[in-house]
Subunit: 187 residues, 2 copies
Amino acid sequence: MNNEPALRADAKKNRELILSAAEALFLEKGAKVPLEEVAKRAGVGIGTLYRRFPTREALLAATSDKRFLSLAETSRARDLDFTPSDAVRAYLEELARNTIIYQGFAASIGTVIQCGTPGCNAITAEGHRLLQRGQEAGTIRRDITYEDFIYVVTAISITIENDCSSESRIGHLVDLFLNGISIKVSD
Amino acid sequence: MNNEPALRADAKKNRELILSAAEALFLEKGAKVPLEEVAKRAGVGIGTLYRRFPTREALLAATSDKRFLSLAETSRARDLDFTPSDAVRAYLEELARNTIIYQGFAASIGTVIQCGTPGCNAITAEGHRLLQRGQEAGTIRRDITYEDFIYVVTAISITIENDCSSESRIGHLVDLFLNGISIKVSD
DNA sequence: ACCTGAACACCGTTCAAGT
DNA sequence: ACCTGAACACCGTTCAAGT
């Protein structure tokens, strides 16, 4: 699984410094904060940052990893008392909520989530699991894909960012995705 | 209505040159092409471009204006043989199709469409009209807003951009928005 | 193996000078 | 009134030199 050679002590420490600085600055100034500023706050050279995190997405994935892991775990635990549909609803809402914590994060959540970190993998696996569960239960259409989930989270998060509308709209937008805008007709 | 003083002849000509160059370059290289490159191809100074189009969005709105106008007109003409729902479907599909003509346009379509050009105004008015028509016909939920339309077009367009998936997915994604991912239950 | 930061590239935007 | 483009600001990314 983990076949990267262990980092040297100083490198490991620098990695942690970069992560703390990035997390703080993403929260303060959004996901597009200059990477130079991150390096400066971490007290390392910009080259060191690039060595550990070759892309901004990799850095975003790393600072989000714990949240993603816990989201996936929480979701798995919901099977007991949630219907498949409600579990999907909760998963989408929480993923959207996790996306809007950094201003400007929304546009790249789709890329970030494919970064291969433990948290990203866990979230992806959980999404596939929920989708399959819903389809087997007969409450989710067969032509829905996991990508549809991600697009919808992207759309919702971008919406909230642009509007500066409160988090309260998340529920409404997830509901749109689940139930559609049309009035249901019995047939 | 149009209370801007008429442009001097040379200014008017430069405006046209900038528009043609921008349109061509947006198509070739996407909506994020350097504005300096646009100015160069138009044969004007970069300052002239900024004087006419203070933001990239204003330039995008201007190059899209004719398309937006004709989209709004076509949509209005559909009332005769389309149900309110199908008219919304066609409107959303066409707006999405118009958005993906420039790579990287999707993220800003929401801003661009508020630019106040004739085409932008026409499209906005038409969207509101369709929404109201659908709600009065009882086939569109009352809690849907025009903003929901725009978000969905944004989401769909970003999806297509990221995937390089063919235009054929537009229909599927519009359908998701209209009907939701859930299997309908008669109640 | 790792770190540093100067150096380079690129783009956006303004504004003084000129017509 | 309008045009020009040099100048400035800002950021991303690389890589030679150093530990």
